[in-house]
């Protein structure tokens, strides 16, 4: 149990996917204009990451058994692409408003490096032999992503009405805000167990 707690805190705060590992920056910058879209994106990512962690865990076992680990990247990305297609169909059916709000970014979760990143990290860095840990790591990483994108979206909503220098408008000011959030999150790296 302590290990699970450690895993969760590590994935959500200490090694936050966006703010300390630099994974999934594209949706982090792209979909963080409104808090509700950010939340929808966050949940989609949590779901995809959780399921992808389990599936890729099994897939990795198969790849290792067959002795073709070098095909890992290709195999993983294909599975993730299929999974996202599934999520897209699901969201389109059950929440059309969320679907139109997420727009192009939903299929782009395919190229969200965070999803492939967590799948690869599960088998390389974490190297767990327990599918449950893999799943928890995936979900916790997704939660970390959601927290980061929500904070940024909150700040950006406020910035809409702020008086920003011409050249800073758009991405530069967002990046600066992200930098300050990252500075705050850097404090978590002092957490040692």
């Amino acid at each position: 149990m302590p290990y699970v707690m450690l895993l969760i805190i590590n994935a959500v705060f200490v090694n936050n996917f966006v703010l300390s590992r630099f994974l999934g920056i594209c949706p982090f910058l792209g979909v963080s204009r409104k808090t509700d879209t950010a939340l929808g994106m966050g949940f989609a990512v949590i779901f995809v990451m959780g399921v992808a962690s389990v599936i890729t865990y099994a897939l990795n076992l198969a790849l290792v058994a067959a002795g073709i680990e070098y095909l890992r990247t290709i195999a993983f990305i294909l599975v993730i692409a299929c999974l996202i297609q599934l999520v897209e169909i699901f969201v389109k059916k059950f929440s059309p408003s969320l679907y139109s709000a997420l727009g192009v970014y939903l299929p782009l979760i395919t190229t969200n490096c965070a999803v492939l990143g967590v799948a690869i990290m599960n088998v390389t860095e974490l190297a767990t032999t327990n599918v449950l840990y893999s799943f928890i790591n995936g979900v916790a990483s997704g939660v970390g992503f959601t927290i980061a994108i929500l904070i940024l979206a909150g700040i950006r909503e406020k910035m809409e009405v702020a008086d920003i220098p011409e050249r800073f408008k758009g991405f530069p000011i967002t990046l600066t805000a992200a930098s300050l959030i990252a500075m705050a999150f850097a404090a978590f790296s002092g957490l040692t167990f």
Partner: protein
């Protein structure tokens, strides 16, 4: 024929500055921020991405009439994944130290949005040669900006220049620059700088083209404009 040559090489030049992947299109931000803790890392990452981009652009443009619209994304991803796996294997064999440093991000070239974006918006619509040129241009622009970002972050964060220690920076180095927070900050500020410089340049070029156009189509108007400018110059000169 002349026009054809121009069309072929235009993507090469526009990819470097006008459509700069990092500062204008804002694509491939993850490796941009993650590997630019040192200039050399940025350079190698950029070159690896350029290789994958050129190859995948070429293949996708050759297959553009064969791949059905509906399954194009998985097809593109498969092509890209093949080349990024090649890069990964070559790097592990010949540049093991670098592979240690970048590790995950080499495998993650496959999900670099630049590749899919160029496949979708350029090489799936254009013939082979322009596609290769586009890959080369965008790739070189990406390499250039990664190296630049790495240069700044390395200089201020670690007090070195392409891995060489800079004496006077040793007491002044600020570790925050090679931390994630510094990455975001430098990226943001560089983007401001880019907007400033390129924005001004583009405005100048636009104005120059306009004047040339006016001169060609309406000599009378051009003459008036010139007179007006001369008058203004005189005014300003008089003020001084």
């Amino acid at each position: 024929m002349k026009r054809n040559i121009r069309d072929t090489f235009e993507p090469l030049t526009s990819g470097v500055i006008k459509n700069n992947a990092t500062f204008r299109l804002v694509l491939g931000t993850c490796p941009t921020l993650a590997v630019t803790t040192a200039a050399l890392n940025g350079l190698y990452m950029g070159l690896a991405t350029t290789f994958v981009l050129v190859c995948s652009n070429a293949i996708i443009s050759l297959l553009r009439k064969i791949i059905p619209r509906k399954v194009r994304i998985p097809a593109y991803i498969l092509v890209i994944a093949t080349f990024s796996t090649i890069v990964e294997m070559v790097m592990r064999k010949f540049l093991p130290d670098l592979y240690e440093v970048m590790g995950l991000f080499i495998a993650l070239i496959v999900v670099n949005c630049i590749l899919l974006a160029r496949a979708e918006s350029f090489s799936s619509l254009n013939p082979l040669l322009p596609s290769v040129m586009d890959g080369l241009g965008i790739g070189l622009g990406f390499t250039m900006s990664l190296t630049l970002l790495g240069l700044v972050r390395e200089f201020f964060g670690a007090g070195s220049f392409f891995g060489l220690t800079v004496g006077f920076m040793q007491n002044l180095k600020m570790t925050v620059f090679i931390l994630p927070a510094g990455g975001f900050m430098v990226y943001g500020l560089m983007m401001v700088l880019y907007n400033l410089v390129v924005g001004e340049l583009e405005k100048k070029i636009e104005a120059y083209k306009n004047r040339k156009y006016i001169a060609l189509t309406n000599p009378l108007l051009a003459e008036q404009e010139e007179a007006e400018q001369a008058r203004r110059r005189g005014l300003f000169g008089g003020n001084k």
